[in-house]
């Protein structure tokens, strides 16, 4: 079996036993990248020379024996191109950051490097993480490895496709309204959005600061837990980072869901959800039931407002965050700069793509004098109602299960002319970001050859229960082991 097709925990064993070297592993990954990348388009930037150098350093030092626990030392990882990497171009898939080379690392990048993982490159996304398909990237559209005519999902489309196509072993994604879980679902891999505050956002290029969260995209649940052990850490540089102890998530990798109380929100099994998707998810729920979990239908009436609330709050925060791209300190600047105002107008006109402009417009309008109370304040109040609705539900159930997406991957070009229909593909993932709670997507079936994802939603900071449920499901099924015929 090719090394690049294995999971991190399998490779970690081989590295530790000196059965393989880091260099062999990195070479296998780049061999695959060189073979399939012309079709997949998952990466904006590749860092092969740096990766080979790092692999050699690790091979020459080799202190594995000193480290008894499972280690991700020497494991290749792809980094979404909205996380700052010192000395390596970070574009956010935007023209406005075309030549931007950050002077520092995002905290997650430092953590990954300290743990000895080897970055292979920066993955494509929808510009500034705004989108559900990577079609909003200023550079390229990533293809779904299961069907090259379909989108990989987004915004972490490059991150999910690179894992599914075995171009990397691990990936870092970010999730503002579903941007880890939706592409993980479309590409048949595992993706976790941690609790807001669990992972540092320092150095993650901001989209909507009250919703953004970094998390792992991996080949299986064990890998996601191992990577979370590295990422979940308090960071004084992010004032929203939670100052609470970091648990050992591998302790949650046990086959046991006996007595687990599962709620199925009927609002996410009704109209607008494809019949085949519903069927796969219900079959997954039956497996949990068979293993002793208790399943019941629940109702979250406030969910029907989640999408509208999200499309006020996210653009409002984005319009404020993106004000920093002014052509002065870094990034692209227009040549048309007769005076300062003309320079601002032209820099932003030339630098941003249509979806980013659209969201800046929505956000600016919603925050403008006279509309603030009607839109932004109203949305923030309904957000409280959604949170309270969820808190009440979690008094009754331990986790909720839903389809991650209403349909399997859609076609490239299918939704680009209708922004609202594109927004609707995030209907099951958005409430989770609004409430700041964690959720994981794991493969649970196929619809006409395309992967289907099961979303498991948990209580704040209870990623452990998500890992336990997901691990149990994975032990009973082999959906996560299937590979696209590339």
């Amino acid at each position: 079996m090719e090394l690049n097709t294995l999971a991190a925990h399998e490779l970690a064993e081989k590295l530790k036993d000196k059965e393989i070297s880091c260099t062999e592993l990195i070479e296998a990954v780049y061999k695959r990248i060189e073979a399939v990348e012309p079709e997949i388009n998952a990466f904006n930037t590749l860092t092969k020379e740096l990766a080979l150098k790092k692999a050699k350093e690790l091979d020459d030092s080799r202190p594995w024996a000193l480290n008894p626990g499972p280690s991700l030392r020497g494991i290749p990882i792809a980094i979404k191109d909205n996380m700052c990497t010192d000395g390596i171009r970070t574009t956010c898939s935007s023209k406005i950051l075309e030549n931007y080379v950050p002077p520092y690392n995002a905290t997650v990048v430092d953590l990954v490097l300290e743990a000895g993982m080897i970055p292979v490159g920066k993955t494509n996304l929808d510009e500034f993480a705004m989108g559900s398909s990577t079609e909003n990237s200023a550079y390229k559209t990533t293809k779904n490895p299961w069907d090259l005519k379909k989108v990989p999902g987004g915004s972490s489309g490059g991150a999910a496709a690179s894992v599914a196509a075995d171009e990397t072993i691990l990936s870092l994604g970010s999730d503002t309204g579903g941007s880890i879980r939706q592409p993980a679902s479309f590409c048949g891999v595992t993706g976790l959005k941690p609790t807001y505050g669990r992972v540092s956002r320092y150095g993650l290029i901001a989209f909507a600061s009250s919703l953004d969260q970094i998390g792992p995209i991996t080949k299986d649940v064990t890998d996601a837990a191992l990577l979370m052990n590295i990422l979940a850490k308090h960071d004084p540089k992010d004032s929203t980072s939670a100052n609470i102890p970091s648990p050992d998530y591998t302790k949650s990798l046990v086959r046991d869901v006996k007595g687990l109380k599962i709620g199925l929100p009927k609002e996410l099994f009704g109209e607008g959800i494809d019949g085949n998707i519903k069927k796969s998810v219900m079959e997954a729920v039956e497996i949990f039931e068979k293993l002793g979990a208790k399943v019941k239908e629940i109702s979250l009436p406030s969910f029907k407002h989640a999408l509208a609330v999200y499309y006020i709050i996210a653009p409002a925060e984005a319009s404020s965050n993106l004000a920093r791209y002014d052509g002065v300190h870094y990034g692209r600047r227009s040549d048309k700069e007769k005076d300062l105002m003309e320079m601002y107008l032209n820099t932003r006109r030339e630098g941003f793509g249509p979806e980013v402009k659209r969201r800046i417009m929505i956000g600016t309008y919603a925050l403008s004098s006279g509309y603030y109370d009607a839109y932004y304040l109203k949305a923030q109040k309904i957000r409280t109602i959604i949170k309270e609705d969820l808190e009440k539900t979690f008094g009754d159930v331990d986790v909720m299960m839903t389809p991650t997406t209403p349909t399997a991957a859609f076609g490239i070009g299918e939704k680009t002319s209708d922004p609202l229909s594109m927004y609707l593909s995030d209907i099951a993932t958005i409430p989770v970001n609004l409430a700041g709670i964690p959720a994981i997507s794991v493969p649970c079936g196929f619809d006409k050859g395309l992967p289907v994802g099961l979303q498991i939603i948990g209580r704040p900071f209870d990623e452990g229960t998500l890992f336990r449920a997901a691990y149990t499901f994975e032990s009973e099924t082999d959906f996560h082991k299937r590979k696209p015929a590339l």
Binding site: Y100, V101, P103, G197, H329, Y330, D339, M341, K378, F461
Partner: protein, 103 residues
């Protein structure tokens, strides 16, 4: 409430975003579509509800932002920061003229 082309132009000027005539038309239409969808939230009763900005992660009420100690940490390589600037002169960020000397 319908968004007019004038509203679009006003929001674009607040956002310092230059728009072409076609973009103004397009965004006026799309803003109306999207805000039309969003307007449904007006039916929700939010009397006595606190905006969600007052809740920290985990649902706890948080009325203040955690602060770290106000201690300066020198950045080791300021050249890297300056090097990212699109126009630099004598280690300063160069901007186009702000005031018109004629005025």
């Amino acid at each position: 409430m319908a968004v007019t082309k004038k509203d679009t132009e006003y929001a674009a000027s607040l956002a310092r975003l230059g728009l072409s005539e076609e973009e103004k038309e397009l965004f006026t239409g799309q803003l109306n579509d999207i805000l039309g969808y969003i307007d449904a939230i007006n039916s929700v009763d939010t009397k006595d509800v606190l905006p969600a900005v007052f809740y920290g992660p985990g649902g706890a009420k948080a009325f203040s932002t955690p602060m770290r100690e106000d201690a300066a940490v020198p950045f080791k390589e300021p050249k890297k920061i300056l090097g990212a600037a699109p126009r630099l002169e004598d280690n300063m960020f160069r901007v186009p003229k702000i005031l018109d000397p004629e005025e």
